[in-house]
Amino acid sequence: MLKDITIGQYFPGSSPVHRMDPRFKLIMTLLFIAMLFMGQHLYSICFGIVFCILALALSRIPVKLIWKSIKPLIPVLLITAILDLFMVDSGDVYLHWHFLKITAGGVRTAVLMVTRIIVLLAGSSLLTYTTSPIALTDAIERLLSPLKKLHVPVHTFAMMMTISLRFIPTLLEETDKIMTAQKARGASFSEGNLLQRAKALVPILVPLLVSSFHRAEELATAMECRCYRGETGRTKMRQLHAAGRDYAAMTVTLLLFTGAVAVKIIF
């Protein structure tokens, strides 16, 4: 059950998208999100869709995987669509029955919102699918490094993120172990009402929390032993180099972005 969680899941590969500089990928993803949410017109999200299809094709990530990240959100999509359909009241009236009313504006907003969310999920999950977590935190650290001048502890945050990512599988494994141990003593996690189920989690969370503190302390000692002293005097083995393809991809993204801006201004 716990193994199904796919936070920040990474699928190693050697496609052009995989090999791209993570800093560029991160900025491009942000531009892509802006593209999608900028205009209220159907045309404006076309640019986002084009970007998404291009990136998907280049990454060679199977569509099945993308579908996997969208599937759990289908109920949310349905609720969004239904709410938009009945709540938005503008343009021609297609249907009027008691207090329910479907209008052209409603249909348009519903289609727009659902497409937007699907494209957003597909495009942004591509970032974590093609970038290793460590490359991603590295990119965030470097992109935010100007903030260091304002005494924002960027390095510390990046280190915290790396360590959290590192310990997700370890703690999942431990949770599984504790749950099995509690089950062996007759605990049940799938029976009773919500409150009872929540209560059943306490004997799992307490030992997990205690052991996390132990781990944190041991890890801190081990890091000190390896001469860690924060950012001071630290270098990096992996250097980030922007290549030709990074600039090319960025140019395409910027063109699409400009297109989206133009559509917003014109319509």
Partner: protein, 282 residues
């Protein structure tokens, strides 16, 4: 031989924020020197102070009395703290709680990165260290996909990438299965023999201690026995009195000697034991 680690009348207790003693004396007037290139095992039951002594060897703990010298540097010299830690690396019991990064080679690079080395040098050291522990093929793996023994070898690689002159291992095999234990012991012996790295191995396994050149037995914050393993394990009664065992073969020989069978009391390896018993029977 050159002295690498020297403790002079070392004593230690934990102190509270006001500097008052917050624990009984854990180390009591302990004096010890370790030569460069040696392989030393430290034995003792829980709470005898062996882990505390280990933590003095790279200035994680500082003595409350006496002096600790590492390669001629006083561990109380705060300015040389990182020089000391570069000299003496530490490997702990739980491999999971020592690995920082999500990719094996990134983790091995952590130490050299902290030393501020140029990227090419780090790359070279990481590759060398991974090859030395036989984990080079796993460099792109996630640590959680590896077995306990493999993780512990990664932790060791992370230390040797810093090119220390000494590695202190605090019960590195306690959480491993027999196969992992063998892998780690093989790596440790190889590092000592081929690379000349001084090894201080804290352990509960007498068979592991028997592989060292020198065994130190600690009891109640001080050194009880300090000699070659054959000599130390020949004191069977004294070892039992402080709650420690001797290797199984040594115990067998001891029991046989008690029965009046003339055998050498300095036998610590199974092969030597078999040979001696066969000779006696002949």
């Amino acid at each position: 031989m050159e002295k690498l680690i020297a403790a002079e009348h070392l004593s230690f207790h934990y102190t509270d924020e006001e500097g008052k003693p917050a624990s009984p004396e854990i180390l009591k007037d302990l004096t010890l020197t370790l030569e460069a290139g040696s392989f030393v095992a430290v034995l003792g039951h829980n709470g005898c102070g062996k882990s505390t002594l280990a933590k003095h060897m790279n200035a994680i703990l500082l003595p409350t009395g006496g002096k600790m010298w590492i390669a001629g540097i006083d561990t109380c010299d705060e300015e040389k703290l990182y020089e000391i830690r570069q000299h003496v690396g530490m490997v702990f019991q739980n491999p999971d709680n020592q690995i920082v990064a999500t990719i094996v080679e990134e983790d091995v690079a952590f130490g050299p990165e902290n030393l501020g080395l140029p990227p090419e040098t780090i790359r070279e050291r990481v590759d060398d260290a991974l090859k030395a522990v036989g984990m080079y093929e796993y460099r792109m793996h996630a640590p959680n996909q590896l077995s306990g023994g493999q993780k512990q070898r990664i932790a060791i690689a992370g230390i040797i990438a810093m090119r220390p002159s000494c590695i202190v291992l605090d019960e590195p095999t306690a959480m491993l299965d027999p196969k992992g234990r063998m892998e780690v012991m093989k790596t440790i012996r190889m590092l000592n023999r081929s690379y000349g790295i001084t090894i201080v191995l804290i352990t509960h396994y007498m068979e592991e201690a028997a592989q060292a050149d020198r065994v130190i037995v600690m009891d109640d914050g001080n050194i009880l026995l300090d000699d070659r393993p054959e000599e130390v394990f020949s004191h069977v009664e004294q070892m039992k009195a402080i709650g420690l065992d001797v290797p199984q073969v040594t115990e067998l020989v001891y029991e046989l000697r008690q029965q009046g069978i003339p055998l050498d009391s300095h036998i610590i390896s199974e092969d030597a034991g078999v040979e001696a018993i066969l000779q006696n029977m002949a």
